[in-house]
């Protein structure tokens, strides 16, 4: 559904953080904020739901752990038992201490890589994706806040200017973030 939005540009993260709180207190809906670097506390100020990435990381870590158990069992016990340093190679549990570093590394490998990929997918950053920030200056030194336009255009514009916005413009929004 297409609707009108207001884009306000700020040039300081502290001003932005304060403005986000004021805009939400004023009853306006913030659709998105674009920043050149992560601003601490912005997610809480915007009222975003806490991230579920930590839970996925835990699950991925478990998958990695079980994968490494299966992998070492297949490689070193089932398929081709190898005698390394005279260590028992005919039962998994007897040779388990030798596999612990691999279990650890696989847990970290799976958790880290799959978590990054999940983060990219969730943020809709995949190959050949074009940038979705409306103003290229948000990759440099400007902060951009998109507010849904409800009611009077001029009221909202002047309110945003009062919160510290250096520029305010009106645009059509075609997709929902």
């Amino acid at each position: 559904m297409s609707h009108k939005i207001v884009r306000a540009i700020y040039d300081d993260d502290d001003v932005l953080l304060k403005a986000v709180k004021e805009v939400r207190d004023n009853g306006n809906h913030i659709e998105e904020v674009f920043t050149p670097f992560p601003v601490h506390g912005l997610d809480k100020a915007m009222g975003l739901a806490p991230t579920k990435l930590a839970i996925t990381a835990f699950i991925y870590g478990l998958i990695g752990l079980f994968f490494s158990v299966w992998m070492m069992n297949y490689m070193m016990i089932q398929d081709w038992p190898q005698n390394i340093g005279g260590k028992p190679s005919f039962a998994y549990y007897q040779n388990m201490p030798a596999f612990v570093p691999i279990m650890f590394e696989m847990t970290v490998f799976f958790a880290a890589h799959l978590m990054v990929i999940t983060f990219y997918m969730r943020s809709k950053i995949w190959p050949f994706q074009t940038a979705s920030n409306p103003d290229p200056r948000t990759t440099d030194d400007k902060f951009l806040m998109e507010v849904t336009l409800e009611g009077n255009e001029d009221d909202l514009t002047s309110f945003l200017t009062k919160t510290g916005a250096t520029e305010v413009s009106i645009a059509e929004n075609h997709d929902n973030h």
């Binding site: 930590a54 340093g85 005279g86 201490p97 612990v100």
Partner: protein, 451 residues
């Protein structure tokens, strides 16, 4: 100001008295000679008639590996001689029991408070801002260093003057033992005692200056005092880093004088550091539950819980590292350490402490939200403290009492006594000074700290 409630004071005194009685009973109740010893062993084997054969097999196995039998197994004794020798050996272990119980707990609580001082000195040296609101808790916990080192000294001098057989290398066997003789330039009683006194004196002196400067800061609020204390903290950390390497070698690793491991000192450090941080968190939560320390928020506790979580993994890393390298290389002089622990009489505590020190803290404290809930910190903390007491027990007991170990009155009483003393000293120190280090320049930062 904190008020040392009469209830808690009474509780700690009762613990101390009960502990003292139990420890005295332990010292009196040792078998006098080999005849008394034989009676005890006979009574034991009749009591466990059903698995008597399995028992004696297990005993033989661990016995052969036991570091106490250093010199004598070359000359093959037979029949009565061997029996007599076994009796004398077991008698020594029985006589060691009350001393060993004393040593384990004395070391645990002493090292715990030294590690609190280390953590405290790290805060100073790094000019940390978040932890100032819990500085007084840490300072009070380090008050135990002085009584703790006196009790350690009693034990060390008793060992040095042959009142017990805790350290094999001090005994008669050592004269015929080439490996111990080769280490004699370092491991001899006079220099060992001098070094021990040096460690203890160093920790006490640094503790005195660090804490009294911190208190002075409240009145003067001068930047000079702050910088001076920061420099003292750096000096202490340097002194500690070097002295702890030798302390762990002298006091603990020399219990098994044939065995060696390069990361042993770090292992002891990791074990006691996580216990110290847990104690800080638990005392802080206790004080908060009594309505003190309003400045301490769950953000501060969150940070402490993160340290508990992190250092639990750190400890496990060392535990496994030490084990895996020696398991893989399979050298007899190295595996001698793991035989009683992994395969012998200590298997249960050795394996179960992995659950208490690693599995439970990691699972309980993994979630960010759980680190902010006092009850979760308390449950994980209890598991960590019990687990690391077991850790110290398994570090010491196999070399001192061997497979004759038990957890009876002397062991339990020593925990009661030292816990009572620890509570008494710490909370009395806490009641003497204001609960907030208001003179610290980072106080405001700590009050406003939020995660």
């Amino acid at each position: 100001m904190y008020q040392f409630s009469s209830k808690l004071k009474m509780f700690s005194i009762i613990l101390m008295v009960a502990g003292l009685l139990g420890m005295a009973y332990g010292f009196i109740n040792v078998p006098k000679d080999t005849h008394a010893m034989e009676e005890i062993l006979n009574a034991q084997s009749q009591g466990h008639d059903t698995h008597a054969t399995a028992d004696s097999h297990a005993k033989k196995d661990t016995h052969a590996e036991d570091s106490h039998k250093v010199a004598s197994h070359d000359n093959a004794h037979v029949g009565k001689d061997e029996h007599q020798e076994h009796l004398e050996h077991v008698l020594k272990q029985y006589k060691n029991k009350p001393w060993s119980a004393f040593f384990i707990t004395a070391f645990f609580f002493f090292m715990l408070s030294v590690m609190v001082l280390v953590f405290y000195a790290i805060q100073w040296a790094s000019e940390a801002g978040w932890s100032i609101t819990i500085f007084r808790v840490m300072e009070a916990l380090t008050a135990y260093i002085l009584p703790g080192s006196i009790l350690m000294l009693i034990f060390l001098f008793a060992s040095g003057f042959h009142m017990n057989d805790i350290y094999v290398w001090m005994g008669d066997h050592a004269a015929h033992d080439e490996l111990i003789q080769a280490k004699k330039w370092w491991l001899n009683i006079p220099s060992w005692l001098i070094r021990s006194v040096l460690y203890l004196a160093g920790y006490n002196i640094f503790r005195y200056f660090l804490v009294s400067n911190s208190l002075k800061l409240d009145a003067t609020k001068s930047y000079k005092t702050y910088i001076r204390n920061k420099n003292i903290a750096v000096g202490f950390l340097l002194f500690f880093a070097v002295s702890e390497l030798f302390l762990a070698f002298d006091w603990l690793m020399s219990l098994d004088p044939h065995w060696f491991s390069q990361l042993y000192s770090f292992y002891v450090l990791a074990s006691m550091l996580v216990t110290a941080i847990t104690t800080i968190a638990m005392v802080t939560i206790y004080l908060k539950s009594k309505g003190y320390l309003p400045q301490v928020t769950n953000s501060h506790l969150h940070d402490l819980a993160k340290f508990m979580f992190g250092f639990s993994i750190f400890w496990t890393y060392f535990w496994f590292d030490q084990f895996m390298l020696q398991w893989y290389s399979n050298q007899p002089e190295e595996t001698v350490y793991f035989v009683p622990r992994l395969l012998g009489a200590y298997q249960l505590p050795f394996i179960s402490m992995l659950v208490l020190n690693f599995v439970l803290p990691v699972l309980i404290l993994m979630s960010s939200d759980f680190k902010r809930l006092n009850w979760f910190i308390m449950i994980a903390g209890l598991s960590i403290i019990v687990g690391h007491y077991t850790d110290i027990f398994v570090l010491i007991a196999p070399a001192t009492v061997g497979d004759q170990y038990s957890f009876g009155i002397p062991e339990f009483a020593s925990i009661l006594f030292f816990l009572g003393l620890f509570i008494f000293i710490v909370f009395r120190a806490l009641a003497k000074v204001p609960l907030q280090a208001v003179g610290n320049p980072f106080m405001t930062e700590s009050e406003n700290f939020h995660y």
